[in-house]
């Protein structure tokens, strides 16, 4: 039992060491800007269609479900308030992060894991290159830049999706829907969405890379590492979301009352 605990603690230590080295790698040359741009394209541009699609439908579902429930109390004019707050504060960052985890976290784990198995990481080190700087720091920077952008786009598209349902299903005028959203959302809400997105980006990129770089057991290990990266990232996103929310609401007390 003690041995299992010791091994888990070693893994936690290894993970935080990797995170520290990845951040440190952002501050001294070479900066591998072409690699960063490639990762930005892969993380941001290529994830955009799926993030757009899921966020629009989540906004629509939210408006549809809440609309019927609120109509019972004669409160369907608050659909915009509920949709925008739910999306910007919670669902936008979390859902975009989960979608990106499926694409990017798994992809990083698989790619780096394959590089470990085929000794490409060892080759890189033998050639005097720091693989963490070249492979992890570049992905981390690209993720920190692109994932918040994806989240802000997801927030916007979800609100638009909700507006579509609010108009066609519940007959709310678009101008009224827009007005309730403007009255509801404050800068703090957008800030919360952004901070969460940055935090989730760090989790997704580092956990994916950690799982890939610590592959054990050849090619079957790559499959296990990919699964581990996705599961760990999603669980970490959901658990940390609670704590980040509590901390941010304490730091920005006005938000606790819905702006």
């Amino acid at each position: 039992m003690l041995e299992i605990i010791r091994k888990q603690l070693v893994k936690v230590y290894d993970y935080f060491t990797l995170v520290a080295k990845a951040f440190k790698g952002l501050f001294y040359p070479p900066f591998y800007m072409s690699d960063v741009l490639l990762h930005m394209e892969y993380i941001g541009v290529q994830s955009l269609p799926i993030v757009l699609l899921t966020s629009v439908f989540v906004g629509m579902i939210l408006a549809y479900q809440s609309g019927f429930a609120m109509a019972v109390f004669g409160a369907k004019m608050y659909i915009g308030t509920l949709v925008s707050l739910s999306l910007v504060r919670e669902l936008g960052p979390v859902l975009a992060a989960v979608v990106v985890t499926g694409r990017i976290g798994a992809g990083s784990a698989a790619e780096l894991g394959s590089m470990v198995v085929t000794e490409q990481i060892s080759a890189m080190r033998s050639m005097g290159t720091d693989p963490i700087k070249k492979l992890v720091s570049t992905r981390l920077l690209a993720g920190i830049i692109m994932i918040p952008m994806l989240v802000l786009i997801a927030d916007l598209m979800g609100i638009l999706g909700g507006g579509f349902v609010a108009y066609y299903t519940f007959g709310l005028a678009p101008t009224f829907y827009k007005k309730t959203i403007i009255q509801t959302l404050v800068v703090g809400d957008i800030l919360m969405s952004f901070i969460k997105a940055v935090f989730f980006a760090i989790l997704i990129m580092t956990l994916g890379c950690y799982a890939g770089l610590h592959v054990e057991g050849g090619t079957t290990g790559v499959g296990r590492a990919t699964t581990r990266a996705v599961v760990l990232s999603i669980v970490s996103i959901l658990i940390s979301d609670y704590f980040v929310t509590v901390i941010l609401l304490k730091m920005l007390p006005g938000l606790a009352y819905g702006g």
Binding site: P30, S114, M115, T118, E119, Q120, S122, A123, M124, R125, S126, M127, G128, T129, D130
Partner: protein, 246 residues
Amino acid sequence: MIELRGISKSFDGVPVLDDLDLKIHDGDTLVIMGKSGCGKSVTLKLILRLILPEFGEIFVDGVETMSLPERQMMDVRKKIGMLFQGGALFDSMTVWQNLAYQMLEHTDVSVPVIDQKITELLHFVGMDGSQEKYPNELSGGMQKRVALARALIMTPDYVFFDEPTTGLDPVTAGKINRLIIRTREEFGVTSVVVTHDIVSALTVGTRFAFLDSGKISFYGLKQNLRETDNPALREFLKDASWQERY
């Protein structure tokens, strides 16, 4: 010269190297032989400090490397070219990018000069015109030849070959063996070849070490190899019927 003193290394509690001493003299092609899993490749990785030993010291050109900061160790690694068992070419890069990688990373040499050097090295390994190919478009033997060109790009003092002929047909293995000899002759490098292929060992080696039970149990020239009374080595050599060939 590279020297290993009292090196011990274990994996999951199982000792692989036990108080190992070894010297690699300049200009030699030292062949480290031994059964699969006896720690031959581990020895190379320890010299490059890709893994760390539990005990012992390693000196590269008189510099003790175990206590060096990582940044300075990177400079030591630049003196050593390594041909990994599977080639370990970066599969997301073309042959040209694989070869240029180290020069772009560590030097300010212009692209035309790098291009010229790559052309020369690809000619040396018999892979002319393969600059734009990706590793998955090459056979195993071709990948090893490109990997050798990559190992030589920085004109290293030492080149390590990890099982260079494993998994290759006899004709391709012969080509690789001739390349190892030409590498020593034309580039003047000190080579270390890790192999359990005795034909390859005897073809390329100028000095031989036999790794058994975590220690070097034999160290000497080809002549000493023929006359050895080391039972484990005699058994190892007998299985390959090397005496009939040579």
